[in-house]
């Protein structure tokens, strides 16, 4: 039996029209094929275990059968069976470091740096090896939570593809020679005040870096410092400057906001405060459920018999957006518009609120006007308790407009506040880059120092940086990889990972984070601080000395206290770098306002095109990170690639199918990629993601997808108009997981409007049976299983996941991958449905019943595809009490523990996969190959013997990253979520040593001691609760008693320990039946 290629499902637009017209499609669906119930989908579902089928590479002949068997027998003889273990040595410390106890981890506070801004982290270290990143409790930017990028940063540290030595014109060289050469050039330029010296960095918030740069520019006053981040916050900076005349950092307090309107703002993914946004947003989606009658009151205190008691009341979010984002998925109302319409919608909203100068556009459709009016009324009714926020890729006008609306609504000062910018020298970064390119092209650049950036890859195509940079006399690059820019750099110096060096950085709120190293540099290299020090100091100073000197000069608290706390919340001006001055030439610059993107060239019938950072690999900086590559993008579920995302309706009109190769042409430049139809995407527009198509990433990310930078122009803000799309024939295989582990439409996600829920006589029944789910729920006694373990009075582990809070950010998946050393399998294996993630994030669309069309050209069925409701459901192992997997294992490799865990014993498993076949939730994962030995893959492929080369043989560097408390699984072994049994065991042992029998959450204190599963600890919305169900006071027991609680597929009498809390929506009654979710 061969594996059917399920990614090649073909659905013609006609078939889902027919399905929708007859209303026979499922109410909840994951893919268009499921919606249309296409033949391919039926075949996939009915072919019971499609991912389990092994396809032999070659037909097995008698001759090669004998060869294979011969080799197997020979090996069996060599290894001598399993009688003895290999001899091992023990190497103790000669002089043991302080506090290191073998087997016990230590935790160090440090910082994760992204886009120049910091987020506080707490790093777990085993015997000097950092193994896991957690959020830093108490730090405003994280408060103990993480996002997927922070989790994945640990893999970047150990990446064997990192550059490992100083290179000079492609030859190995040394740091000393590099310093001599650079200082030689500087000396010749010194008489001219350093004219011709150019420095390119990312956004700089680090006080120490600012101080060093200030010294460098002090010595060379005519040198120029350029800052450029590919995903720059120019729009944000410029917008606030227009509104207030000063560059400030705007802070949004979603915990205080009753009403939120996002204008293409993906508040959960973009910006340095995204985790804070998720924490705060979810705090207003937190519902403390009480029994009926016990807790009167509720939302706005307006109804008597409320079951849901929430203080403060549920928020309500309106999202206006082009490319579907996480914010839109969570919103109560989502308006899907073409990017070109955004200005009109924002103006309309501002006009309705009463902002001077805003004009309501006349050509909006009736339903858009209704929508805007309702949102405006709602905002006005919640003065001082609302937020209007514009997205980073919207032009400055929209940001200024949003601020004006907030000002007029009295939100400024309560939900919207400002602080001094944490940036050392805020500039318009695109202009800064433009200046650099102009100087390069005018042959004015003698020495170009590129610190940590990759401008040859990640810059607008029209600037043609690759051509310009060749005109510089000397180019030196400090970078973690030999990347696209390294090809043009005379000198390349390996850059240290933040976990290898000292440093400091500021977070969005201005607090200063200290970066402390967790490990000595793996490959040598320099940090930015040391690099600059080599140019300005007589004797190069270490990063430690530089940071400490800066700290000392500020007269701050004890160094030890600062380090252990990890951050200084309210740094004085001296400490934060506020007093650092730069030569006047640096301040003025040539910072003309950039051309507005909204009014860009419109050549009639072309498509709108949105440029966005990729949801997983970002601007390309996580391109070589296998965890990020294999992480299904939250909404599209595509892995290992970017794609040309278009609306299914547009695809139907153009006759395009998923995976069809197309050419996208924008401003005379074109790029070729594969089409993916994304429900919720506006019509006649295209979204492309940056971060892919890199010729010189490491072996993981090289040549995956297409390079969207190659059609991006410097006058395009986040989007442009006049793009064309044409089929060029052929298919490009994408690895999309949206249809994997399908459980079909069986009442899996449940949700109610707040009103329905509060008004219901028996809300628990509402949830149990749901609107469409009339299932039999088995009673306690209806079982063939032994029930004696149920008398257990010790710990009874359980988990609840609150769908009301989950925003689908993927942090749990990556945290689990890091904690439980889950391998990546590569693109081809993902296409076969063999991804190994223990927790998956199912994304459902629903046709709902209140959708309506608002575009005149769209029929009813089409608007379903244009703006479906989105529901996320994280799905770990259910740890069933009556576990179907256990009874079918012929070797007893999966057993039930007293505490209710569904234990997996790897060393017993012989790989029959019966358990997986019998699991109704499809949460078991099988090691089809020795994934842990070839963990990185190459160009998204699992390494096979045919294409193995020396670079694949050194995953040695990845071994220290593995959590020593978890077994490494080999080929032929089944695995699955364990509820992080290693953490449970450690906590249980501690409890028992202290004489306790049961785990009691109230007594366990401190971030490190508290028992949390990895997914729970990472979750930025606190949607996951885990603990002891036998402790009636525990958080998990409370939420398991909630009337919103339900289990999935409970009609099978599996009695799952993982249960869900139904989502409550908070729609505006005025918009009932208008548009959006």
């Amino acid at each position: 039996m061969t594996v059917k290629n399920r990614s090649k499902f073909a659905v013609d637009a006609e078939s889902f029209r027919v399905q929708l017209a007859g209303k026979s499609g499922p109410a909840y669906w994951r893919s268009l094929d499921e919606l249309a119930q296409s033949d391919a989908f039926r075949e996939y579902v009915e072919n019971e275990f499609p991912d389990q089928a092994a396809a032999p590479a070659d037909a097995l002949t008698r001759r090669n059968f004998l060869q294979v068997m011969g080799a197997t027998l020979a090996l069996a003889g060599v290894s001598g069976g399993c009688a003895r273990q290999p001899n091992e040595k023990i190497y103790p410390y000669v002089k043991a470091p302080e506090e290191v106890v073998p087997g016990k981890p230590l935790y160090f506070a440090s910082a994760h740096v992204e886009g120049g801004y910091g987020k506080g982290i707490l790093v777990e270290s085993h015997m000097g090896r950092p193994t896991k990143v957690e959020g830093l409790p108490g730090h405003p930017a994280t408060d103990g939570a993480t996002d997927a990028h922070m989790q994945a940063s640990i893999l970047d540290l150990y990446d064997p593809d990192r550059s490992q030595s100083v290179m000079h014109r492609g030859e190995l060289s040394t740091w000393d020679r590099c310093v001599v050469d650079m200082n030689g050039v500087l000396d010749t330029l010194r008489p001219r005040g350093g004219e011709g010296v150019h420095l390119l960095t990312g956004t700089v918030t680090s006080p120490s870096q600012a101080r060093m740069l200030s010294r460098l520019l002090g010595s060379y006053p005519n040198a120029r410092w350029h800052q450029y981040e590919p995903m720059s916050r120019d729009n944000v900076r410029e917008g606030i400057r227009r509104a207030l005349g000063d560059t400030l950092e705007v802070i949004y307090h979603f915990d205080r906001a009753d009403r939120i309107v996002t204008l293409d703002a993906d508040i959960f993914s973009e910006g340095p405060a995204n985790i804070r946004h998720m924490l705060d947003y979810a705090s207003r989606r937190s519902v403390i459920d009480g029994a009926r009658g016990n807790h009167p009151g509720g939302a706005d205190g307006d109804s008597d018999g409320d079951h849901a008691v929430h203080t403060p009341p549920l928020n309500r979010m309106y999202a206006v957006e082009c490319t579907p984002t996480l914010a839109g998925a969570s919103a109560d109302h989502r308006l899907s518009i073409r990017p070109g319409q955004m200005n009109a919608v924002a103006q309309g909203l501002a006009a309705a609120i009463g902002v001077d100068g805003a004009s309501a556009s006349v050509d909006d459709s009736e339903s858009i006007r209704t929508w805007i009016a309702a949102a405006a009324t709602d905002l006005a009714a919640h003065r001082g308790r609302g937020i209007v926020i514009a997205g980073e890729n919207q032009p400055p006008e929209i940001h200024a407009l949003a601020y004006a609306m907030n000002d007029l609504l009295g939100n400024v000062g309560s939900t919207v506040t400002t602080v001094a910018t944490p940036e050392a020298r805020p500039v318009n970064q695109l202009e800064s880059l433009r200046d650099l390119v102009a100087d390069l092209n005018a042959d004015r650049v003698e020495l170009l120092l590129i610190l940590g950036q990759n401008p040859v890859y990640a810059t607008p195509a029209d600037l043609d940086f690759a051509a310009a940079v060749q005109r510089a006399k000397t180019v030196a690059q400090l970078g973690r990889y030999l990347d696209e820019t390294s090809d043009y750099a005379h000198w390349h110096v390996p850059e240290l990972h933040p976990l290898e060096t000292w440093g400091d950085v500021r977070a969005y709120d201005g607090s200063v984070l200290l970066i402390q190293p967790l490990i000595a540099p793996l490959y040598g290299g320099k940090s930015t601080l040391e690099f600059i020090s080599a140019l300005v100091d007589d004797a190069e100073r270490s990063a430690h000395d530089i940071v400490q000197a800066n700290w000392r000069s500020a007269g701050a608290d004890s160094w030890q206290i600062a380090l252990s706390q990890g951050f200084i919340e309210d740094p004085g001006a001296a400490w934060s770098g506020g007093e650092v001055s730069f030569p006047a030439a640096q301040r003025s610059g040539r910072t003309a306002p950039r051309p507005a993107g909204t009014d860009a060239v419109d050549d009639g019938d072309g498509f709108d095109i949105c440029f966005r950072p990729d949801p997983t690999v970002g601007d390309g900086s996580y391109c070589n990170n296998a965890w990020m590559q294999e992480l299904p993008k939250s909404l599209t579920k595509v892995t290992w690639d970017n794609a040309v995302y278009i609306s299914p309706v547009t695809a139907g009109a153009l006759g395009l199918e998923n995976e069809d190769r197309v050419r996208v042409t924008y401003r005379e430049r074109s790029v070729e990629g594969a089409v993916w139809k994304q429900p919720g995407h506006p019509q006649n527009s295209i979204t492309v993601h940056f971060g892919y198509g890199r010729p010189a990433a490491g072996k993981v990310g090289r040549d995956m997808g297409f390079n969207a930078y190659s059609i991006w122009t410097s006058d395009t803000a986040g989007f442009g108009r006049g793009a064309r799309i044409e089929a060029i024939g052929g298919k490009y295989a994408l690895a999309c997981t949206e249809g994997h582990y399908a459980m079909e439409n069986r009442g899996l996600v449940r949700h109610f409007s707040q009103e329905t829920f509060n008004g219901s006589e028996h809300p628990a029944e509402l949830v149990t049976h749901g609107e469409h789910h009339e299932f039999h729920t088995a009673g306690e006694d209806e079982t063939l299983f032994r029930a004696d373990w149920q008398e257990w009075h010790g710990n009874k582990w359980g988990m609840t996941i609150d769908l009301n809070k989950c925003v689908g950010c993927n942090a749990c998946i990556t945290a689990c991958q890091s904690e439980n050393i889950i391998p990546c399998v590569g693109k081809t294996e993902v296409r076969k449905g063999r991804e190994m993630h223990w927790i998956r994030l199912d994304r459902y669309y629903t046709t709902g019943s209140t959708w309506h069309s608002y575009l005149p050209m769209a029929g009813e069925s089409e608007s379903v595809l244009e703006n479906p409701n989105v529901y996320f459901q994280p799905l770990p192992c259910m740890q069933c009490e009556n576990a179907p997997c256990e009874v079918v294992c012929p070797v007893g490799a999966t057993q039930h523990s007293r505490e209710g865990l569904n234990d997996m014993v790897y060393n017993r498993c012989i790989g029959t996969r019966y358990c997986s076949n019998n699991c109704p939730y499809k949460v078991r994962r099988f090691n089809f190959f020795n994934y842990s030995k070839t963990p990185l893959g190459s160009r998204g492929d699992r390494v096979t013997r045919a294409n193995i080369n020396w670079t694949h043989k050194n995953p040695e560097s990845l071994k220290p990253m593995r959590n020593p408390d978890v077994t490494v699984r080999g080929r032929g072994v089944m695995e699955k979520c364990t509820y992080c049994v290693q953490r449970i065991n450690l906590q249980r042992i501690e409890d028992k040593k202290n004489g306790r029998v049961m785990y009691d959450e109230s007594e366990a204190a401190g971030p490190v001691d508290r028992l949390q599963t990895a997914c729970q600890q990472a979750c930025p919305t606190r949607a996951i609760t885990f603990g002891n169900l036998n402790d009636p006071e525990s958080a998990v027991a409370v939420s398991a008693r909630s009337p919103r609680n339900y289990g999935i597929l409970t009609e099978l009498n599996t009695r799952p320990r993982t249960t869900y809390l139904a989502r409550l929506t908070n729609p505006n009654p005025e918009l009932d039946g208008v548009v959006g979710s």
Partner: protein, 119 residues
């Protein structure tokens, strides 16, 4: 006899010990909980103070581990005897052991769960 130790201190290179008690990598053993609940050193390591050359005193096979996990009473000592290499079971060891199980909250039924040692 201690020259290798001194040598190690002088030149900073660690001593190389041969591992004698080597559990498979998929089995996890925590010393502290055993010591805290009254399992003495010599129960697993034998009369190590009388071994000129260290050897494995017990098989370390799973059946050996599980025998004690199923019925720890014969091996439980008064806590002050944990480090006593010459400890011998008392005459009324069964009775005493059951008493220790009670006193120390040892949940015997749980001890043979797979995930107690395998994870």
């Amino acid at each position: 006899m201690f020259e290798p130790l001194r040598e190690s201190w002088r030149n900073g290179s660690p001593l190389q010990w041969n591992r004698v008690y080597d559990l498979p990598d998929f089995a996890y053993f925590n010393h502290s909980i055993h010591v805290n609940k009254g399992i003495g050193c010599s129960t697993c390591h034998g009369e190590i103070h009388k071994m000129p050359l260290t050897r494995k005193a017990v098989s370390l096979r799973m059946s050996w581990c599980v025998a004690c996990h199923k019925d720890p009473a014969p091996h439980l000592r008064p806590l002050e005897d944990v480090y006593n290499m010459d400890w011998k079971p008392a005459r009324n060891q069964r009775e005493l052991g059951e008493q220790f199980i009670e006193e120390r909250n040892i949940q015997v039924a749980q001890l043979i769960n797979c995930s107690i040692c395998h994870r």
